[in-house]
Amino acid sequence: MERYYQPEIETMPRDQLRALQDERLVKQVRHVWDNVPYYRTKMEAKGVTPDDIKGVADLHKLPFVTKADLRDAYPYGLMGKPKKDCVRIHSTSGTTGKRVMAFYTQHDVDLWEDCCARALVAAGATEEDVCQVAYGYGLFTGGAGLHGGSHKVGCLTIPISSGNTERQIGFMQDLSSTILCCTPSYAAYLGESMKEMGLGPDDIPLKAGIFGAEAWSEEMRQDIQNTLGIKAYDIYGLTELSGPGVSFECSAQAGMHVNEDHFIAEIIDPDTGEVLPEGSKGELVFTSLTKEAFPLLRYRTRDICQLNYEPCSCGRTHVRMAKPMGRSDDMLIIRGVNVFPSQIETVLLNNGYAANYQIIVDRVNHTDTLEVRVEMTPEMFTDNLGEIDKRQKELVAGLRSMLGLSAKVTLVAPKSIVRSEGKAVRVIDKRKI
């Protein structure tokens, strides 16, 4: 028997859902026009006013918001509410140019947590469950989102955050955690670590996991399900739109239901910007219908994706999106694992190194290799070789934990990483594929 967190919304007939979206879109466009001069200027340049938007059918008339807009308007330029009405920010990692920062009113936080709660309930969570949130806490949306969702469901929530694998496994055993929330690569890593510790799926009572924040394959799902003895569910989200919970998998594990009462999904041709017919493969674009503090209209995600409007066996009526099939940004695929340079940078910064690094990817004997060259800094240098070695090993462990990949770390002399026009060349991919 399928359970829902908000059954009346999650199973709402599609015509009613469309009417709700129409009504919310009209209101949201008005809100943005009145409160976000940056976007209003874009609308004016396109000759569109709120009067032109009577419902979802008119959505295509609105201009897109891109990452470049986020950069131009950074940090406060796309805010829809004055600071006094906002209660929180979240942010992605990455250098200033790449960092995404989003703002939330209390109402925004509340709706976001509802979205995460829907994902948890779809994965089988009830108030009887013990939910171990092993996403990073802090600026990253993963920890806060699933933490809030877990509270809403009434699970006993363990805010353990990411890392410290032995402690994670210790908590799972001691507190009998039943739900695990983290990145899929960390879930896989936890599984491997358990094996190394001589533990099998029967040694932990875990029953389900919600794994997002990076793309993962069906093979990886099978692998995680087998090693941890759980059902593994995907969850999708973007900091720009709130965080995890924009869409989530149900018991069918066949696509992620977009929370369409809060977000409208479109598929466009990434070159022309034209909306593509139902079922087409193209770039995913989202419009947030209910966000107050950071109300993005037609935000281009850069994820290449497909939407499925077929009814789902779980009873939810909301459209399902496929796992994103590709991107048009700096993501690398190394030994089947998706690696963003910003993830590596996060680990470096967390470990006290500066963001002066270079990623070298190569293929040796049919196997991808990942080397991270890091410039030595005065802060990280010590006269003690053993201490330097220890810090280097911690960095390798941190990268492994973040990426689910082992990387070779090479410490190099200051300023030895080639900078072109003042900016370092971050990635050298020597593979011939």
Partner: protein, 143 residues
């Protein structure tokens, strides 16, 4: 009771040490002692020079990562068993050596040994109590 040693991070590749000594030569820095430690990819050059603080500043300006460490320099009688006698004292005092290196310092009857220990004061006290000379600040620099 102690001397200032400069530890410099170097990559383990041809020409790196040469570049470092080049900087010292260009600035008329005179080295009293040197020790090299290495891993596969990088090493630390530990040097004792006539003008340690000036040297640290100019190395930093030249883009090196370096640190000034206070180490113990001990006068070792230049006779068989000379070092053994000193180490006996440190061993009895339960003082652990992180690393050490020797140099002659141009004298016939004694040599110097540089030791890195956690507690310079304790090591100095233990050695002096047994009549071993510990080199004062400035003494090595002015050799």
């Amino acid at each position: 009771m102690s001397v200032k040693q400069i530890s410099v991070f170097l990559e383990n590749k041809p020409g790196e040490l040469n570049a470092l000594t080049g900087v010292l030569a260009d600035h008329n820095i005179d080295m009293r002692a040197m020790s090299l430690s290495e891993t596969n990819e990088f090493g630390i050059a530990r040097i004792i020079v006539d003008r340690p603080l000036d040297t640290a500043t100019l190395l930093k300006d030249a883009g090196y990562v370096c640190t000034v460490t206070t180490v113990l320099a001990v006068d070792i009688p230049h006779v068989p068993g000379g070092l053994n006698q000193v180490l006996n004292i440190l061993s009895d005092a339960k003082i652990n050596l992180e690393y050490g290196y020797a140099f002659l310092g141009g004298r016939k009857d004694s040599a110097y040994m540089v030791f890195r220990v956690a507690d310079n004061a304790a090591a100095t006290a233990a050695l002096r109590a047994k009549g071993i000379q510990v080199v004062e600040e400035g003494e090595l620099e002015s050799l």
